[in-house]
């Protein structure tokens, strides 16, 4: 069921943003209790990133994308029979809380902007790839492995060869396996996982071997290693070329320098919560020293610090697709309770099995966090490397600003325009925080994060100007 864009004041009692596993599960559970639920999603079809194009992938062979992908089809089916409404292609550019008007969401569909009142909101806006700032990372032909995987899932597009994958983390190996099964030739996988990570991960091994990741992950590793040249403990990685990438240079674990031709370099070193909407809404964030990223502060019900806003799934901290589903349901249960649909006992009764499943789904996560912790040199780059791609600000310029007395990203932004471009600092936020922290020799938590404001996605002036006036509760400015 697809609803057209609305302009009514309160089209729903609960608005869920994002149609990945957390959002689909949350909306289905809430609508199943008879709550008027509206799901806003940017994509033309449900599934989020992980189950991208799950209802319409052009890849016929199910072996390519694997059995997990089909779990998404079940989620979509449950959502579609729940009675929840959905607006597809909805780009949400604003979430604000006004003392009088309450929560307000601004979104656009096909260039038409709408503002709606939303009594309660579940944010399920997922993760984004951690920035991987190396020399040459802005050259055409260098892209994120996640973005490449999206092209594979939705359009069966494969990159130009010679193809090199570099980095660390499960997605890198998953993508390698998907390419191998699709018959794509990979020149090499450059594994940047530091050897010391194994030592740090070992104490968490017991949880991992009982997790669903273990067998799956090991199978992927084995399959990739049997088909592709894998070079371990890579450091000093850089992309070379003038107009576009032509080669990749790096240092091997044995200290030898190596260079290989590449037309495409796919980089990956894990994912981090996509901070934009939660941050713009004013949700408090804390630095997570294990996952090395900012995370919105949430309680055991996934409630954020902004009244009426819950955050579920990877957007609340990386836990993977299965954990995201369960978190979405937990948040929905809490929202139902806040609406008076469930009482305290009902809330706990509904939540008990979800919490149990969630515990199972997060087992093994600490092992993965420790093992795939990206190396310092790939998070805090050297002086010549660009940090802010939009405004072309280098690590060296940032260090200079810190020496001038800038203590955090909002002041370096004022000094250097770092984080002022179209991505609003989404792509450089963690790097800037960590770089300033390293330079000041203080914890990242002391450095702070960008203050973001709506619109968090580009909208045109005409689009904003055309938003229905009746929907805006406030007084005009004097003039």
């Amino acid at each position: 069921m697809t609803a057209s864009p609305m302009t009514s004041q309160k089209p729903a009692d609960l608005v869920v943003i994002g149609a990945g596993p957390a959002g689909l599960a949350a909306a289905a559970l809430a609508a199943g209790h008879g709550i008027r639920t509206l799901l806003l999603d940017e994509q033309p079809a449900p599934g989020g990133q992980i189950y991208r194009g799950v209802t319409r992938t052009p890849i016929g062979d199910p072996r390519v994308l694997g059995p997990d992908y089909r779990r998404g089809q079940d989620l979509v089916a449950a959502f579609e029979s729940s009675g929840a409404k959905r607006v597809v292609g909805a780009s949400v550019w604003s979430l604000t809380r006004d003392a009088e008007a309450g929560l307000e969401i601004g979104y656009s569909v096909a260039g038409a902007g709408t503002l709606i009142q939303a009594p309660r909101v579940i944010l399920a806006t997922g993760a984004m790839e951690r920035p991987f700032p190396i020399p040459g990372w802005t050259l055409p032909g260098v892209m994120g492995a996640g973005a490449a995987q999206t092209l594979l899932k939705t359009s069966a597009l494969v990159p130009d060869g010679p193809l090199v994958l570099a980095g660390t983390g499960p997605l890198l190996w998953l993508l390698a396996v998907q390419y191998v099964r699709a018959g794509v030739s990979i020149g090499a996988i450059l594994d940047t996982t530091p050897r010391a990570n194994w030592r740090a991960a070992l104490p968490h091994m017991a949880g991992f071997v009982r997790s669903s990741y273990a067998i799956k992950g090991l199978k992927q590793l084995r399959e990739a290693r049997s088909k592709v040249r894998v070079i371990s403990q890579v450091t000093g990685l850089r992309a070379l070329g003038s107009d576009r990438i032509e080669a990749v240079a790096f240092r091997r674990g044995d200290g030898a320098e190596e260079r290989m031709p590449a037309a495409t370099l796919l980089l990956h070193q894990g994912v981090i919560p996509n901070p934009n909407l939660a941050s713009a809404a004013g949700c408090a964030q804390d630095w997570n020293p294990d996952q090395l990223c900012w995370m919105p502060r949430t309680d055991v019900w996934n409630a954020s610090t902004v009244d009426g806003v819950w955050i579920a799934g990877d957007g609340a901290g990386i836990g993977g697709a299965i954990a995201a589903e369960h978190q979405g349901r937990l948040a929905a249960v809490a929202a139902l309770s806040a609406m008076g649909v469930l009482d305290g006992a009902g809330q706990d009764r509904e939540a008990a099995p979800i919490r149990k499943a969630l515990a199972g789904a997060t087992r093994g996560r600490r092992f993965l966090d420790a093992l795939y912790r990206p190396a310092d040199q790939f998070r805090v780059p050297e002086d010549d490397t660009l940090v802010c791609r939009c405004e072309e600000v280098t690590a060296g310029q940032l260090r200079e600003a810190v020496r001038l007395g800038c203590t955090g990203p909002n002041q370096t932004k004022t000094f250097l325009r770092c984080g002022m471009g179209p991505c609003q600092g989404r792509l450089c936020g963690t790097t800037v925080t960590e770089l300033i922290a390293a330079e000041r020799r203080v914890p990242a938590s002391e450095v702070g994060h960008y203050r973001l404001r709506p619109p968090i996605k580009p909208i045109t002036l005409a689009e904003l100007a055309a938003v229905s006036k009746d929907d805006i509760p406030a007084v005009a400015a004097e003039r």
Binding site: G106, L404, G405, L416, R453, P454, L464, A474
Partner: protein
């Protein structure tokens, strides 16, 4: 940890006024310590629109017009000097500035303002009203909704963020000491000099300059002065980069050298909330499209809200505190336009006691009388 240090002057506040004054004092050879808050603070300098502006200034005060005019006259030279010192281009230009009116009511009230301030304006820089036909003759692409404008040929703009950074960079290069992330609690007498107390430390100096923006009232109270400032929120929309199309400056719209377009000029009383609101953003967008219809399909990449530091009559406030010789207060909501004035003339006042005569009328005594 407790620390002490001695210097000639302590400047409290690292915004545009504080840093311009600190740089000026350093250039005069004084040792200067600049104390500033941290990364998250009410910083008007971050939300500045970048106008170097004369046309609407005055509000019945001839002194304010003269002070602004002198600062604008300093600008070309000041800008060149700061660029030589730091290598940072401030982007200063003086192509003449327009305030566009989008209705007959707006035109009438603008005309009235221009008439009111005309007697105080210098003969060579009078603000004039232009009708719609004249505006259209001068500016390409102006929309049908524009019914006229006020214009002054001395108006211009600069890259206010570059100005801010260059002032800090220059201060640093000249050996000024900058201490961020401190909250100043109090100023106390210490023999013939003063001590400025922060949480754990205290710093000594024979002179103290408070350029603490919205924090001024707290310090004014400590030396027996009345409240000086209140916040007024302004919101700004910033677009994606466009090919250069706008060589003149509007008070509401300007294109930066990097191609982005700033859209602003809102005034709201929102207390200390520096957020952005849908209604103002929508209004800004609507007015921008009405003014320059070709902007309709341009993307907004960000929006910004910041608090202006306003006195009760909108005029600046400069004062050496009565009974506290050597303790100065400075505030103005035109810290970009007046930056050269602060770095040169105000700094001389602090350093040598040479008060520019036209600044003496800007003491806080006028607020005491009103209260």
């Amino acid at each position: 940890m407790s620390g002490t240090s001695e210097q000639d002057v302590i400047v409290v506040g690292g915004g545009l006024i504080g840093i311009a004054s600190a740089l000026g004092l350093r250039q005069l050879g004084l040792s200067v310590l600049l104390l500033d808050e941290g990364d998250v603070a009410h910083r008007a300098a971050r939300g500045n629109f970048g106008l170097v502006w004369l046309q609407s200034k005055g509000g019945g005060s001839g002194d304010y017009v003269r002070w602004t005019r002198r600062s604008i006259d300093h600008w070309p030279d000041f800008s060149r000097e700061l660029t030589e010192l730091t290598g940072i281009d401030l982007g200063y230009r003086r192509p003449g500035g327009y305030h566009l009116c989008l209705s007959d009511t707006e035109f009438a009230s603008r005309s009235a303002l221009v008439d009111r301030i005309a007697p105080n304006q210098p003969d060579d820089a009078k603000t004039v009203m232009l009708d719609a036909a004249e505006v259209r003759r001068r500016i390409d692409g102006v929309g049908e909704g524009v019914v006229g404008a006020s214009y002054n040929e001395l108006d211009g703009d600069c890259n206010s963020l570059a100005l801010f950074r260059a002032l800090h960079e220059g201060f640093n290069r000249l050996g000024g000491r900058y201490k961020p992330s401190v909250r100043v609690d109090a100023v106390e007498r210490d023999g013939g000099a003063y001590r400025v107390r922060t949480g754990e430390d205290s710093f000594g100096a024979s002179k103290v300059v408070f350029a603490a923006g919205l924090g001024l009232n707290r310090f004014a109270g400590q030396v027996g002065m009345p409240e000086i400032v209140r916040p007024q929120r302004g919101q700004i929309i910033v677009t994606e980069r466009l090919r250069p199309f706008l060589s003149m400056v509007f008070s509401q719209i300007r294109q930066l050298p990097n191609g982005t377009v700033l859209i602003g000029d809102t005034k709201e009383d929102a207390g200390f909330d520096n957020g952005t609101t849908s209604i103002i953003m929508r209004e800004l967008a609507e007015r921008a499209v009405k003014t320059l219809p070709h902007l309709a399909n341009v993307n907004i990449v960000r929006a910004w809200g910041a608090l202006r530091v306003l006195t009760h009559d909108g005029l600046p406030c400069y004062e050496e505190a009565p009974d506290w010789p050597g303790v100065f207060f400075a505030t103005s909501h035109s810290a970009v336009t007046l930056a050269p004035g602060h770095a040169r003339e105000f700094a001389r006042w602090v350093a040598f006691g040479e008060a520019p005569p036209d600044l003496l009328g800007f003491s806080s005594a006028r607020f005491r009388a009103a209260a």
